[in-house]
Symmetry: C2
Subunit: 313 residues, 2 copies
């Protein structure tokens, strides 16, 4: 297989684009694509202050690398979850994020969950109904809360996450199999802020396949944590990813066309509700001030109080 | 495994309903379910004249049997497609429909495509772009046209088809993977007529699993054609069925919940358009008078003219 651009030996083949590229051309092509999607979905400009949520994994570190190379003003946010799993998962991923930032002279903000809220995620989860089986729901809630809080408090214009096409297609399939209206209406490359408490969120990698992101990290020499979170095993999202991988194997491009036809249908007014209408029903949490779906304290503050109470007794 | 109702040996197990039934209780239970769905979705009443499209397969013949046993006024419509496939497919299925009707003293209408339009389906398909690879698109178009025409001309109140849950879930998955707005908005247990040319259509088996329909036909002793249409091989619908079967195997009830959550979301106003709004954009074909999406002759009449023209030259 030869590089479509220069004819030398190809390193990455992308069947869905009928494209094969050598390492050098691939490393130029991928950021060009990301830049194209940033503009297409009007995510942010070079005058915006961007906060990238980084986990130490290939997607988020590559995203940070790409945005930095493209000349955007982007800081990193690492959230220390306190997950060990016998592989020092959180410790290792924090070190990788710190090393990445130091090597490029970039600013990394760190929030440690245990330091800030008294307990690491697994301990917190054990004390709540939400986390009885697995800490994933508690972890998701906590991360969303912290990401929004930090982006808002530190005055960032937009929060970016490293969700790739496989992530987005899996989420979409999950939301579709259950027809979760609110999630379907809000899913997309960009979720506008509401000018009150909810920060603008963007996913610049939403149209890039996971295997392309892995190739980027590898070819660019980015050190990232290879291990999945020890709690990810058996996660629904992995199940949906596998299902979509089978579909993709039978029909190259199926994953991308599923996601893009969804965006197009939404753009053409498929759904009765608009994302902002779903959000207009939101209220400010009296404790943290962040937006929540029901009046009264938000789910995160209620969880933190429950955990604190359990600790005291 | 014992029958949940009478404790004797169970013949059919339905994991998604946590139910196992003996032959006798199953043969009573399934029509009760169908009756429940006919009422729930306000499909028709005992004063309506019903036309059941029958193919000779397990679903449509069982549907006819069930509606007849439930005391509905229901005639059958068999469409002779002229498909041989080395197994005398159309001939055999027509004989089975005729035998079924004769045994029960029911009226069967027969439309033979070759007699009426000059060519059997496979020959017709070969002469059109639409049927270049496979006759399935031409066949679907022809059947929809004939079913609607006969139901309208003969003054039936509603046309019923034997689509089961597996069919509906596969169609839904296909429409979802491509986000086909028009199809999604119109898919459901009942499609209202428009009082002009489009006949009311209902699918009383839409919530019954395919394997339950097979069990019904078997236990009721209905003779049906076991073979799939020779052209069905490689059909997308079969591919989606297989995919959903894997999902169902991992999570009993997944297929049903996918379909039901879709109906519920639609009922709650998920989509911006209503089925009748999609239909308001329709026009009457100047040749056959049936509704079509674009002004001018409908796709069926255009196809028939093309086939006639090719024959003359």
């Amino acid at each position: 297989m030869k590089c479509t651009k220069c004819g030398s030996k190809a390193a990455v083949q992308m069947r869905q684009h009928k494209l094969a590229l050598c390492a050098q051309d691939f490393l130029a092509w991928l950021p060009e694509q990301v830049e194209r999607f940033i503009r297409k979905y009007r995510m942010f400009t070079r005058s915006d202050r961007i906060l990238a949520a980084v986990s130490g994994g290939k997607d988020s570190l590559s995203l940070w690398d790409i945005l930095w190379r493209l000349g955007y003003q982007v800081d990193g946010l690492y959230i220390g979850l306190g997950i060990d799993g016998g592989i020092a998962y959180s410790q290792k991923s924090q070190q990788l994020c710190e090393k990445f930032a130091a090597e490029r002279g970039l600013r990394l903000l760190v929030v440690d969950v245990a330091e800030t809220y008294g307990q690491p995620i697994p301990a917190m989860a054990e004390r709540t109904l939400r986390g009885r089986d697995k800490p994933c729901a508690v972890c998701g809630l906590t991360k969303r809360h912290i990401m929004n809080r930090v982006a808002r408090d530190e005055g960032y214009d937009v929060l970016v996450t490293g969700h790739n096409l496989d992530d987005e297609a899996a989420t979409l399939l999950g939301n579709t199999l259950t027809w979760s209206v609110g999630h379907l209406v809000r899913q997309g490359p960009l979720l506008e802020g509401d000018g009150a408490g909810l920060v603008r969120k963007a996913k610049p990698l939403c149209r890039i396949y996971e295997r392309e992101m892995a190739a980027y990290a590898l070819l660019r020499g980015i050190e990232y944590i290879y291990e999945e979170c020890p709690y990810a095993e058996g996660a629904k999202s992995l199940y949906y990813k596998e299902l979509l991988n089978r579909l993709e194997a039978d029909r190259p491009g199926a994953k991308l066309s599923f996601y893009l036809s969804f965006l197009e249908a939404k753009e053409n007014g498929l759904f009765a509700l608009q994302p902002q209408e779903v959000r207009e029903r939101m209220h400010a949490c009296p404790t943290c001030g962040q937006p929540t779906t029901a009046p009264g304290e938000c789910a995160f503050c209620r969880m933190i109080q429950k955990v604190a109470l359990e600790n005291r007794t």
